[in-house]
């Protein structure tokens, strides 16, 4: 069965850019799922189990940090690796995300090589 990725970002444009970067990084996914915020992603994860999740941090309704907290509390999805995609400054919020179970982070704007090196070992 082909691999699945879930991209969580409130920007449709950024979801498209991430999808393209995944292809250019040589990471082939049979299914690319998209969610506009953390709550939509959680609802989607009731039905779908992607191999990896890429998540923005600043989103309306439910941000990336809250998504990580909710995900960690759900046995059926807590082990799915998550990589944060961010423009955030400083390391505090990235540290918080890592403490909540994120496996890595990528800062915008990112190159396909950065995507490959961060995600390659997780899928």
């Amino acid at each position: 069965m082909g691999k699945k990725v879930l991209i969580i970002d409130d920007s449709n444009t950024m979801r498209k850019i991430i999808s393209r970067s995944l292809r250019q990084a040589g990471l082939e996914f049979e299914t690319i799922l998209e969610a506009g915020d953390g709550q939509i992603a959680l609802d989607m994860l009731n039905q779908e189990k992607p191999d990896i999740i890429l998540s923005d941090i600043n989103m309306p309704n439910m941000n990336g940090i809250e998504f990580l907290k909710q995900k960690a509390a759900n046995d059926s999805i807590k082990d799915i690796p998550v990589v944060m995609i961010t423009t955030e400054s400083g390391n505090d919020i990235i540290t918080e995300a890592m403490n909540l179970g994120a496996k890595g982070s990528i800062k915008k704007p990112f190159t396909p090589d950065q995507v490959q090196s961060t995600l390659g070992g997780l899928i």
Partner: protein, 152 residues
Amino acid sequence: MSEIFDRAVQFAVVETFENMTFMEVIPRLPEGEEPILLEPQGELLPVTDPVKGSFWLFLPKDLLVVIAENVYVMETTEIDQQILQDTLAELLNTIAGKIMQEALPEDQLFSLGLPQSAQKVEANPDEMMQRWFFEIQENLFFVGFTGKTLPC
């Protein structure tokens, strides 16, 4: 004027467009008369920390349509105003974040607001305004900053 900030702006704009749109950007100094953008599409992004101000991004509509076509892999007829605005907002969000990362010391935190549509650059009487011009495929566009002072 700040050379550090000038370099940060140029680096951020070039990096963002090359990595997000795969388009080559050339920094341009405006010469002679004020450049005119055809059907300018604008966006502003507030800065709340460490200074109060706003970043601005204005592109001519034709260029923004081409960028959106590249990103969305859609025909021109499928590109609507919502897609154009979202593309513009995401470009500015990424550019602004990168500028602040490059301009400020590594341990200096910064905070940006939410992007919003803009018709023209506006600065309060006690604010400075600076613009940096660039060119993609012979189309001029600019990034601006307004505020009482530059972030660095």
